[in-house]
Symmetry: D2
Amino acid sequence: MADWCLLVIDNKSHLINRNLKVVEIKDFGTFPTEILQDKDFSVEFDLFDKNCKLIPYYLTDIQSNLFRGPQIISPKDIAWLVYSSNLKSGDIVVEAGGGSGALTVALAQSVFPNGKVITFEKNKKNIEVIKKNLNMSPYSNLVELINGELNENTEIIPCNSIILDLPNPHSIVSWAEKSLEVGSKLLCYVPTINQVEKLLIALKTWGQIEISESIHRTWQSRSTAIRPNTNLIGHTGFIVSARLFNK
Amino acid sequence: MADWCLLVIDNKSHLINRNLKVVEIKDFGTFPTEILQDKDFSVEFDLFDKNCKLIPYYLTDIQSNLFRGPQIISPKDIAWLVYSSNLKSGDIVVEAGGGSGALTVALAQSVFPNGKVITFEKNKKNIEVIKKNLNMSPYSNLVELINGELNENTEIIPCNSIILDLPNPHSIVSWAEKSLEVGSKLLCYVPTINQVEKLLIALKTWGQIEISESIHRTWQSRSTAIRPNTNLIGHTGFIVSARLFNK
Amino acid sequence: MADWCLLVIDNKSHLINRNLKVVEIKDFGTFPTEILQDKDFSVEFDLFDKNCKLIPYYLTDIQSNLFRGPQIISPKDIAWLVYSSNLKSGDIVVEAGGGSGALTVALAQSVFPNGKVITFEKNKKNIEVIKKNLNMSPYSNLVELINGELNENTEIIPCNSIILDLPNPHSIVSWAEKSLEVGSKLLCYVPTINQVEKLLIALKTWGQIEISESIHRTWQSRSTAIRPNTNLIGHTGFIVSARLFNK
Amino acid sequence: MADWCLLVIDNKSHLINRNLKVVEIKDFGTFPTEILQDKDFSVEFDLFDKNCKLIPYYLTDIQSNLFRGPQIISPKDIAWLVYSSNLKSGDIVVEAGGGSGALTVALAQSVFPNGKVITFEKNKKNIEVIKKNLNMSPYSNLVELINGELNENTEIIPCNSIILDLPNPHSIVSWAEKSLEVGSKLLCYVPTINQVEKLLIALKTWGQIEISESIHRTWQSRSTAIRPNTNLIGHTGFIVSARLFNK
């Protein structure tokens, strides 16, 4: 069993697993986790002459410490996918493919404590990565992980939202029509315009079709030299969303 | 009591209140809501020779139909504020000022069904707008609406997140330090760089300081003429977030 | 004959034609140009109790005062088209269609004083608009205005650069191959991705193919409230450029 | 004496100096330039079993092959600086600091054949880099290179445009007022908002003050996978321009 928490040293936080034998923190040092076993949250203690404390962690801490398998959906896109899909506590959402599980963890938090995330991922290695990442969160019991492909022949799954990060989402549209509750949304995350084009054709009978892309620009936070950061992710994917009004 | 639902006509949806006497839909017509009283969700019926049905509505339907008072926080920013603040079912979040309640409704959905949103708004008129908008959602019981100013002398409110949309958020930083749980985030939404500068100075002892802005670009969805839309909102506000590691 | 110059009143400039009988300036007044006939550049004089002077004008003054016919190519795109096409004094450039002449004037300035701009425009009304706009500049003698369509059957025109703002630029690619000097560039300005796609196919044998779009973000210039302006032009056109290495 | 030209191999171009003894082209080979001495432009010949030819080069070829010293002003910013400053054949422009000469070469082309660029650069090493880069162009005779600092005590230089890429451009504003022709522009290229703020205060009596930044987004040019490139330069500098109406 993993036991994740944040170790705060000098106003910087480090996500650590207290059930590993040893913790290694870059530019700080390596030490046995034993030292941390009896520490209560928010109580200060000394480590290598530094003032430290343990505190609970965030979803965003998990996002920035994910085990990496395939390319990860970026936080800006996760934020928009979760918001647009209208997920709330108790909902059922289908996701395919699961990739590294970055989105999976966020979806689980949004339907917590009694909803359900059903994640399809055909690649066995990715399944292991998703499991590892889910185990960093308290949500693994909310996720049903299916090692297989979601395709037009998959059995219908009644659900409140479907999110696809697949090369050919247009081929899943008719399955989505049968599975989605009327009034709910299908969201597709695709890198190229050619994929957008195919999707638009497949979505002809759907309502509220929207194509968008988000550019998230971060700034340097020194008050005497405020400026946008030089490097910007110029493109991750287009998000195509559509709403099912007729089935 | 309001009774909101979506009326779908020809693959287009219209948010309506069945407890008003009359519904008016642009380019369609005006009719007594009486006609709709006995309709079940998802069952088709005819209205002015059009095929119609009623279905449940989304948070995003509310967002695009808000009663307008002061400037509304845009969906792209709401998505990022909710995501970054790590809100989940059961959390307590403080928000000031409430404005038109656009963010309030989204925060309520994110802490649903047993969390709490505490919203400060000093303007009496805005309070009425927020109430109207909250009444479109099923979440008004999750929101405590305070008709007053949040300032450095406000009593401490233990909470998981604080979100400020105020002209001088830097003056609330010390109050936030006392109210926030260790490990939690303060998020500030400010239009000018001058405000960002003051905030950076006030946040000196905080961790994970991030400044960002999102540009959400929408595209035209005709498959034979795919192109970004001409008009783009070039700026709403900068989001400055900081995490409290020491108090 | 037009006689254009800038009238500066209170640190604001107004492009006026001294050969019209009367000048009308919004929020200032209307007066006979006679008053201005004997004024030398940069010498101050009084007008309606305001301190005024006449000065020479810029290309950018023309751009922001163009007579409007069809949609105008925006300054950000003009800047990039002129830069990428490597134009310099003495060059010959072919442009089609001329539209309102916004680009025409800029091209003429870039090949001034001894180069040549050959502009195709099939619409008679636009031709008149272009003429009017060219007459605001000192460059009308550098421009050959052809009231006709540029198409694959047009006679070859040896030139240093070709710039197309047409619905079907892919159909002109083979003509461009015959007309352009080896090593020179064809630049196409197109609004949709569907047009980009067709162009990419037609440009298969060309070198240095580049697709780009510029977003030009302007900021509010008050030192106490520095912020990006709210409205942004989110899309004008994609610029596809290609270089001819073989003919 | 350098003798630059483009060597085209397989639809790819390589900027080479025929007066060096040996040419080395990555992924192709190394060979004595002697082979190229007698070749005329546009005439094909064989080299290592590949079809080759020599052709004249562009300003943009120089830009992408500059000798690198200090950070280089990017093409998108050069395009906008040249366009906004209204430069044309015969003009006189002052530039400081010269950096690597990227802008210098472009300015020289814009005032060619009889204008003048006066470039201040206090760093001796940079002066050598600028010289090398200017020698790639046919414009070195149009540039006066001054190894020194431009500051408020520099003697007045009557000119049509001033472009500053310096840490403290606000301290040069009064000098610019004395040197610039009435109606002309001062353009400043600055990375931080703090610099913009100081400039705005110094420019209080100027007209047409504009702050802008350009984002130049490039796209992948495969017709079957059209998408924006992943990496984007998110920020280079803000361009602040102002026009002198009173002196």
